[in-house]
């Protein structure tokens, strides 16, 4: 990996502002890296070379004028569920092949205004439904640490982009773990902000009460930088919160004295890989060594989060995906009646996992089953949220493994959908409760990265970023890079 594709955004900022490098050089290095690696890794569905090059020239001009922001000139990869006017947006689905959005997602517009450089649209499970990126209609993305293994999902492409040096930062979306789990599998930092912290306008909707956009980065500091750049109230998303965006880096400290961190017994399950457990236990010891007080907490409804999620998320998805009707955009089959046209278009355009979730969600919302499934799940969601509310009366944050295993081999979980769903057992509760979660590299098991998850109170990303930063800076895991030649 050349030096230019191994920088954090903060380091690149200093070098750009100090005129040691130009954004054009930085961008060319990342485009060359994509060219060299993507045949093997298949991280990007669309490479935005021309866009990136002109943005880089504009960024250099802006820096010369002294009008730069923290993101000016920084190469960014975007998950292909984020609408962009100057590249296709497909959600890795055949039903949106060739779709060109007439508007930018708010996060894209904000980064564009701040002078970021867009290198490409990154692969994902179709409509962000999956835990391995194997559900993309366009091909699998490989884990750079072991190319026989999945990168996690659904944001596999954005995770690999940062892990392999194809972008300095990337944006993904997290509905049940789709940022944190692939960040963990690929050995990078991933942040799911509080629900409402970041506008969802222009994010192709999966489950609207759970979806949240967030960054993949090489350092916790960078995650704070990107969150500051994309967060805040947006008139186009009425669920974005009218809460001020602080400087998330302001209180960074390597001393965690006075910080109370909860450890929940429910996040230790049978089937957890011994190498994951030992790395997470060592990370918790390190937090104690940094001065944190470790406090046992109980989240008794944790085991119900997964079945609750697999009612709530598919129910919302089945409603959201009704817009793909062959009329307004996307694939459209010729048929003799409108009903046949709908059924053929959707039958051909959606892949197996998307169909499964539409069916599950439609079933849970259908007459006779609505109370037994959908309302029941919403009530259990209340219990899950109350677990966190009680725990956060005692502690400032909660730590847990990001996933029970490291990255698994291709095909090993595709036969039984529920086995795949179990990959998100530790990440789903945060979405159900709407709270923020940060995944930070904390070791290796069998040559594959292990990740520590830090969960925080709603709108208190500052605390989990402070803890994550202190941990990261006292270890060297974030400096490890996959051997890609």
């Amino acid at each position: 990996m050349t030096e230019l594709t191994n920088l954090s955004a903060a380091e690149a900022r200093r070098m750009l502002d100090g005129r040691q490098i130009s954004s054009v050089e930085l961008t060319d290095a990342h485009l060359a890296r994509i060219e060299a690696l993507d045949e093997q890794l298949f991280c990007h569905l669309h490479v935005m070379s021309d866009v990136a090059k002109s943005q880089a020239i504009a960024a250099d001009k802006r820096i010369a004028e002294g009008a730069q922001t923290s993101m000016t000139g920084i190469p960014v990869s975007l998950k292909d569920v984020l609408c962009t006017t100057d590249a296709p947006t497909t959600a890795a689905s055949k039903i949106l092949e060739g779709y060109r959005s007439p508007y930018d997602a708010t996060v894209v517009a904000r980064l564009r205004e701040q002078g970021a450089v867009f290198v490409g649209k990154a692969n994902t499970d179709e409509f962000a439904m999956g835990s391995s990126t194997e559900n993309s209609a366009y091909g699998i993305t490989r884990n750079p640490w072991n190319t026989n293994c999945v990168p996690g999902g659904s944001s596999g492409g954005p995770a690999v982009a940062v892990a392999a040096g194809e972008a300095i930062v990337s944006l993904g979306s997290d509905t049940g773990g789709s940022i944190r789990q692939p960040a963990g599998f690929c050995g990078v930092v991933g942040l799911k902000p509080t629900y409402g912290r970041v506008s969802r306008y222009g994010l192709i909707a999966f489950a609207s009460s759970l979806d949240q956009i967030g960054p993949f980065t090489r350092t916790v500091e960078d995650a704070a930088i990107v969150l500051e750049a994309i967060a805040g109230k947006d008139p186009s998303d009425s669920t974005s919160a009218p809460i001020p965006v602080p400087s998330f880096r302001e209180n960074f400290s390597l001393d965690l004295t006075g910080t109370r961190i909860g450890v929940a017994q429910e996040y230790s399950v049978s089937g957890m890989e011994p190498g994951v457990e030992s790395a997470v236990v060592a990370a918790i010891d390190q937090l104690r060594a940094l001065g944190a007080e470790l406090v046992p907490v109980s989240l008794p409804h944790t085991k119900y989060a997964l079945p609750t999620y697999y009612i709530t998320a598919p129910a919302e998805a089945s409603a959201n995906l009704s817009r793909f009707d062959g009329v307004k955009y996307g694939l459209s089959k010729e048929a003799t009646s409108i009903r046949e046209m709908y059924e053929q278009t959707r039958g051909e355009g959606f892949g197996p996992e998307v169909k499964r979730r539409i069916m599950l969600g439609t079933y849970a919302l259908s007459s006779g089953y609505y109370d037994a499934y959908y309302v029941k799940a919403q009530k259990v969601r209340t219990l899950i949220k109350q677990d966190f509310d009680r725990a956060f009366e005692q502690v400032d944050a909660i730590v847990a493994p990001t996933s029970p295993t490291v990255a698994f081999q291709f095909g090993s979980r595709t036969d039984d959908p529920y086995q795949m769903y179990l990959a998100d057992v530790f990440t789903i509760p945060a979405n159900m409760a709407g709270i923020p979660g940060l995944a930070v590299p904390c070791g290796f098991s069998g040559g594959l990265p292990v990740s520590l998850q830090i969960l925080g109170k709603a709108f208190d990303e500052s605390t989990i970023l402070r803890i994550g930063h202190a941990y990261e800076q006292s270890t060297t895991w974030h400096k490890e890079r996959p051997n890609l030649g």
Binding site: P102, Y195, G196, T239, P307, Y310, Y329, G330, I338, K379
Partner: protein, 102 residues
């Protein structure tokens, strides 16, 4: 609980989702299995619990009712599979088998 093929066909019809015979069989097995896992929720007594639909404490977010620029007609129609005279073109929804139920 195991779904029947008729259950699968009913739900697929509600979702306007065309499925092959093979897909219906596979869907029957997989959905039955997933619903089996979901039955774990019945262990919990939730009679006195109110449902949570969303986690952010916002209600009735209003804005001023003022006219603002919007996308042009061309931009809105640029991805449409079929258009006529600046409109989206659709099959006649009435009179066909969709009938009055639509």
């Amino acid at each position: 609980m195991r779904l029947t093929i008729a259950d699968v066909e009913h739900v697929a019809a509600l979702a306007r989702l065309g499925l092959t015979v093979e897909e219906k069989e596979r869907m029957r097995d997989q959905l039955s299995s997933i619903l089996g896992h979901i039955e774990a929720l019945n262990e919990l007594d939730t009679d006195a619990i109110s449902p949570t639909a969303q986690t952010i404490n916002l209600t009735n977010v209003m804005r001023d009712d003022v006219v603002k620029p919007s996308l042009s007609r061309e931009a809105v129609l640029q991805n449409a599979p079929r258009t006529t005279d600046g409109f989206f073109e659709v099959h006649t929804p009435l009179g066909g088998e969709e009938g009055e139920s639509s």
